[in-house]
Amino acid sequence: MQTQPTGRTFDTRTPVDFVVIGSGPAGASMARELTRQGFDVVVLEQGRAYAPADMEHDELGAFITERWTNSSVTQPQTYRETERDTAQRRPYVGYAKAVGGTSFHFTGNYWRFRPIDFHEYSKRGGVPGAALADWPITYEELEPYYTAVEWAIGVSGLANAAPGEPMRSRPYPLPPLNVTGPGVLLTAACDRMGWGSMPAPMAILSREYNGRQPCHNCGFCLGFPCEWGAKSGANYTMIPEALRSGRCELRSECYVYRIETNDAGRVTGVLYFDQDKQEVRQLAKAVVLSANGAESPRLLLMSANKRFPQGLANSSGMVGKHFMFNGAATSRAEFEHEINGHRGPVVSRITHHTYELDPSLGFIGGGGFDFRFDVPAMIMALSLPPSEPQWGSAFKQRLRSWYSHSLLSYAHTTSLPVEGNSVSLDPELKDAWGLPALRTTFREHEHDLRMYRWFQARGRELLEAAGALRIHDDPINDSPGFAVHLLGTCRMGNNPASSVVDKFHRAHDIPNLFIVDGSSFVTSGRGQPTLTIQALAFRAADHIGQFAKRGEI
């Protein structure tokens, strides 16, 4: 394990080249790329920096007591289904609160988007009640940055292993991870149905890479940090590299609550609470907001001032709108023989056979499948299908069987951008720092519900083709109930009246404010957004660096 570089220290009263808000996949990538271009960067992260010794296989902490995630108590949230409803207090948006952001505990699915994801609107047409639109950039423009990210962090996979894979300029830097039982069964099902399948591209090392060791197959991936450093989260990749540049300071446990602007309408710096709840002002020549698809719009709205009464970058009124999560349809199934999906990577094989679908099905969109096993024993025990015994010796027996002989069919899909689905500030509830709580308004579009049901039916077919003994469909509800892929709330576009940032992630309204994270997405993609978030960040940093060098910020 390499020692954590400490970076350097910047004066708060001297404007630093860039303040980056958030150390997740987007912010950390921005910091790495901007420092490589010679800029000074201060990264502000609300979460803590955890050492490998803190990264225990702690099921209680990971899933129940919010050890590494945003707190439902100090950071309460509210939810309502529509704008007509009064929001009720409940956790709705989840993310890892740590250096590395959500890549601290992610599963590491690293699908690229395909060309269709960037122009589905012009290819397939609009949907009533949805704000489907083309991205202002294409797959081809983003491709070099996908490749750069894959090689920067070490993605394991096999290029062009199935029909329909998008053009790529370089193969994956590492071979696929070990295949698991769920991966073999998905492949068997796809073979029988005539579907293509391929090794899952994963941000987990299959071989040693850049001095980091490969996966130990412990199985504690989803929701857990990786104590080996084999999972290529920003905390093990982009952040240490940025710090080693000598041009970056990382301040963890610093909670930014306001971006400040001057009379000229330019950003001058940020205000944050440090770990002792002391208010600190850091001056900056430019600010990069990468706090995630929920917290970025919240911070823009909280930063409203006399000049920008609707919040920063919000002359369009679109900040916080078009909240998307990626749809899902899941079914669980038991098989005859031991699978032991709790060992090895969560996902080892996927199919993209259903990536592009005909609108005659009654919806616009698509998705892909994996077969996986992603919960530890505690969560499996708490979530056995209701038809199973829930206590007693029979419960023990059935739990053992479900733990060793079951898997989950998981369809990851698009979800439509709907203007009324949003992040906003709760008018009543405050967090522990006295700031307005995050309010989510969300209801699934009927086309999406139709699509999830279609995917669940295909999932059943896959499971049957794989020889499942018993299949249990998880419910599909009008609201997903909890969201972790946080997308679309500061959408990019060429028209300042209908989008928040331009194609280079610069706020239409403020020349030295850049917003780079899942909030930039115009559409949701098919399910695995992190690689695209990082590719967007690499591309943004490339252009922003050039702007800065030309004095155009």
């Binding site: 225990e56 296989h57 209680l60 902490g61 129940i64 007591t65 919010e66 050890r67 707190s71 108590v73 956790p91 709705y92 070990n178 295949v179 698991t180 039982g181 073999v184 069964l185 492949t187 068997a188 073979d191 130990h216 197959n217 412990c218 504690f220 929701g223 899902a328 098989f335 023989h337 031991e338 699978i339 032991n340 999906g341 060992r343 090895g344 094989r349 919960v375 530890p376 024993a377 505690m378 025990a381 708490l382 979530s383 829930q390 206590w391 007693g392 419960f395 023990k396 739990l399 053992r400 733990y403 060793s404 522990a432 419910p475 599909i476 509800n477 997903p480 109930g481 909890f482 972790v484």
Partner: protein, 201 residues
């Protein structure tokens, strides 16, 4: 249960909701270092003292946990020390649930006394009598909470008080030193891949 899988993973289990809310609340009230520090007596191997329950309450709670994960051909909640996990949860991350839990237990014992004679407590009933009592409260919030806490104690790291010697993990054949080598199960064995797929992935 109508909750989506995501909702469940968010920690909003209908059955455990009460216990859980307290868990989150108290986690925030106490510094991480405190919550996550292993109590010294749990690591020493000695039988720890109860920090919250009276001996009588502890006996009842232990008896309930032992009906949820009975000791049969493999060890159960009793051997895993789930009662110690629950006991400690009420002085740490589930402190604000202590009263609710105590009322639930008192109410259960009142039903026991009514059915089996004054002064009888849950722990003194036979296994069959205990099961029958628990079946009668299966849908209650109290049973949901103690079931949730028992399961949590069975699989949480031993430093939280339960899952002694990783008994819970052994129950599901989960090793405590987790470095696995393929094949992980039956289906990924090369000969079975060949039979299923005509090739080895």
């Amino acid at each position: 249960m109508t909750l989506s899988r995501r909702e469940f993973l968010a920690g909003l289990s209908a059955m455990g909701a009460v216990w859980l809310t307290g868990a989150a609340a108290c986690r925030d009230a106490s510094p991480d270092a405190e919550t996550h520090a292993p109590p010294a007596d749990l690591l020493s191997g000695a039988s720890p003292a109860f920090v919250h329950f009276s001996p009588a309450d502890a006996a009842d709670v232990e008896a309930i946990t032992a009906r949820i994960f009975p000791t049969d051909d493999t060890p159960g909640a009793r051997e895993a020390g789930c009662v110690y996990f629950i006991d400690r949860s009420f002085t740490t991350f589930a402190a604000d649930q202590a009263d609710f839990f105590a009322e639930g237990l008192a109410s259960l014992n009142a039903s026991v006394a009514k059915a089996h004679g004054g002064g009888t407590r849950f722990a003194t009933l036979t296994d069959a009598e205990q099961d029958s009592m628990l079946r009668s409260i299966e849908d209650s919030e109290f049973f949901g909470a103690i079931r949730f806490a028992t399961i949590a104690g069975m699989f949480a790291l031993p430093k939280y008080g339960g899952n002694r010697g990783y008994i819970g993990w052994q129950m599901v054949d989960q090793q405590s030193v987790m470095e696995y080598q393929p094949p992980f199960g039956w289906y990924d064995q090369p000969e079975n891949q060949r039979a299923l797929l005509g090739r080895v992935l």
